[in-house]
Amino acid sequence: MYGKVVDRGSTRRPGPYSTRSSSIKTSSSSNSKTNHVIDISDGRECICLDDTDAEDERKSARDFEPDDHVDASDDRIDMGYAANEDIWPEQFPAEFDLKTMDARVDSRAASVEENDSTDINAPLKAAPKLVAPEPEHCPGPESQSAGKGDACAGCPNQQICATAPKGPDPDIPLITARLASVKHKILVLSGKGGVGKSTFTTMLGHAFAANPEAQVGIMDTDICGPSIPKMMGVEQETIHVSNAGWSPVWVTENLGVMSVQFMLPNRDDAVIWRGPKKNGLIKQFLKDVEWGELDYLVVDTPPGTSDEHLSVNSFLKESGVDGAVVVTTPQEVSLLDVRKEIDFCRKAGIKVLGIVENMSGFVCPKCTHESQIFKATTGGARGLAKDMAIPFLGAVPLDPRIGMACDFGESFFDNFPDSPACNALRHVVRRVGEEMGVDTSYQED
């Protein structure tokens, strides 16, 4: 059907300086002090969490263990029905929404530890877990005088409060210092899964790296479903640690990748982690990865608006993010989730560089009839961009060869430079560059 047979590996050209070519695979025995292969299976030392949850998390480091971090029976969201038990629903159908729930939660603030739905910019740290209810005149476990005040004497929580971390996260300056040498940082977001975030991230990476002068890094923060390594054709690689930090995996001389996939002992292993552990790993990716001088760092994210997104946002706040590219497909089911993501960006103060419509239209290879597989019944991304007053970056048609190139870990740009999808992608990348205020015209040649 398509003329060209995809030949695995044909586009990989590790040059003489490519670090991919096994040079960094120093075995741990030869130089065990500085270099060792990171392997999550002996995660006790390498996955170091800086939250107070770390202790519990380490216990259940590898295997799934029912381990309650939050006792929901205490934290349950009080709907207030207990007080109205005699009200029969048919007579008194009480409708409610999340706002009232949140209000109730707020009113019981003492019993609900986690209520960060409103405060996105709060510093990322876990509240100390108290063994007893807070006494009267408690200075609060978060305060500077926690564990030291008069009221603390004799309190069973004293030790916990006194040793809990205070103030802003001490690692944020470290992250800022580490990323000072990165000129542009771009997030790729979408509330919906499977719309092509990772595909677009790799395309963006390849497009930026087409300029031989530019150094590009791709960071995959999708901990539970990392796709970037496979799309880049580096699934089998592992990362290595040196004095300078973790070395990313280099796909070409100027395109590096970091993902949790490189740390898995087996390709199919599931990473069954709760939020705090994922946050810890993302922090390490930002703090410890030795990117060197980078022109672009593209951060791929998982679907949703949860731990990973909050962490990336709070860790990168100081060092500054150029903005976020939002990817969507045309149908309303997808736009519904994407609106939520844009709402999140607004709340978190992330600039939206623009929205890309992926999988818009499919041209039958036999009769060249274009059908809208994912119909834009509500105006598609174009309509959404207009409604939300954000730039529309372009529409990329659905081309089965894009998926094929991703499956084989090759660059679609190199394999099918003349296809309509490729032209559309080039246009989108140019628009991203424009929105960021950088020149990406070299890729036109």
Partner: protein
């Protein structure tokens, strides 16, 4: 306990996003309901709830009852005799619970960290008044994280032995998707959830103009994976634009003259006045995917029995 009257619980899982978990959940529920079973759908995708949109009940709100929350009804039970429409078979009731119903504004983002999601999942499992259900389908978000751990943990603690039948794993055929879904199967193995079968979604797209079938997202990946892990393969579901139109616009699916799917003539029937009227479940019967799902559900129930 809200789960006491639920006969069987089936999870719909996938490591990858956007492969059609919610779409498969919807169709499984409609098909089960068309077989006369009463069905409930619990959507625990908290940050991207899609079930309300799929079922066309976005504006509904959850009602509060003395002992918990009342799920939103999609359609009620219908006997074979009392029905005036062309539905000849008895139809079971369908109810749905999702965080989408609790949002004040449909564009609101739910920005929650793990512990809050955990509390919400537990509350969904303990506080919803399902009533008597033959099947409870649980639609999940992509990944293997907070929601999944909490779900399995709570089910282990609260569900009666044998109540959780197992999981249906959804994938698309391309390798990128399969590699994430393999992780999900390992998750099931680690947590001891039976896999009732693998559904391969988006396998091929038939051009409405020339009937050429294009494998938009490659082909056969799901089947190979099921073989590798030695789990049952339930079937391949092609992309049907008519189904998407049914969900997005409420159009009754129609097919050009001479379309034969699974040995059944799907050609356009004479359009009547109430062509686009009627409930989702009635219209779904004219969809080509119904035949495929009827088959899948048949196998699924057989696997759940054994």
């Amino acid at each position: 306990m809200s789960l006491t009257n639920v006969n069987e619980i089936i999870l719909v899982l996938s490591g990858k996003g956007g492969v059609g978990k919610s779409s498969v959940t919807t169709q499984l529920a409609l098909t089960l309901s068309l077989r006369g079973h009463s069905v409930g759908i619990l959507d625990i995708d908290l940050t991207g709830p899609s079930m309300p949109r799929f079922l066309g009940i976005e504006s509904s709100k959850v009602k509060q009852a003395p002992g918990g929350w009342l799920p939103v009804p999609v359609h009620e039970m219908k006997d074979a005799t009392s029905s005036t429409s062309d539905v000849s078979k008895p139809t079971g009731s369908l109810h749905c619970m999702s965080l989408g119903f609790l949002l004040g504004n449909r564009n609101d983002a739910v920005v929650w960290r793990g512990p809050k999601k955990t509390a919400m999942v537990r509350q969904f499992l303990s506080d919803v008044h399902w009533g008597k259900l033959d099947y409870l389908l649980i639609d999940t978000p992509p990944g293997t994280s907070d929601e999944h751990i909490s779900l399995v943990e709570t089910l282990m603690k609260n569900a009666a032995p044998g109540q959780v039948s197992g999981a249906v794993v959804v994938t698309t055929p391309q390798a990128i998707s399969v590699s994430d879904v393999r992780k999900e199967i390992n998750f099931c193995k680690k947590t001891g959830i039976d896999i009732l079968g693998v559904v391969e979604n988006m396998a091929g797209f038939v051009c409405p103009n020339c009937a050429e079938c294009t494998n938009v997202f490659s082909k056969g990946g799901g089947q190979v994976m099921a073989k590798d892990f030695n789990v049952p393969f339930l079937g391949s579901v092609p992309i049907d634009p008519a189904f998407i139109a049914l969900i997005e616009e409420g159009k009754r699916p129609t097919y050009p003259e001479g379309t034969v799917i699974a040995g059944q003539d799907m050609s356009e029937k004479t359009a009547t006045a109430e062509h686009d009227n009627g409930s989702l479940v009635e219209k779904y019967q004219s969809c080509s995917l119904f035949t495929i799902f009827d088959d899948i559900v048949g196998q699924l129930l057989a696997n759940a029995q054994s």
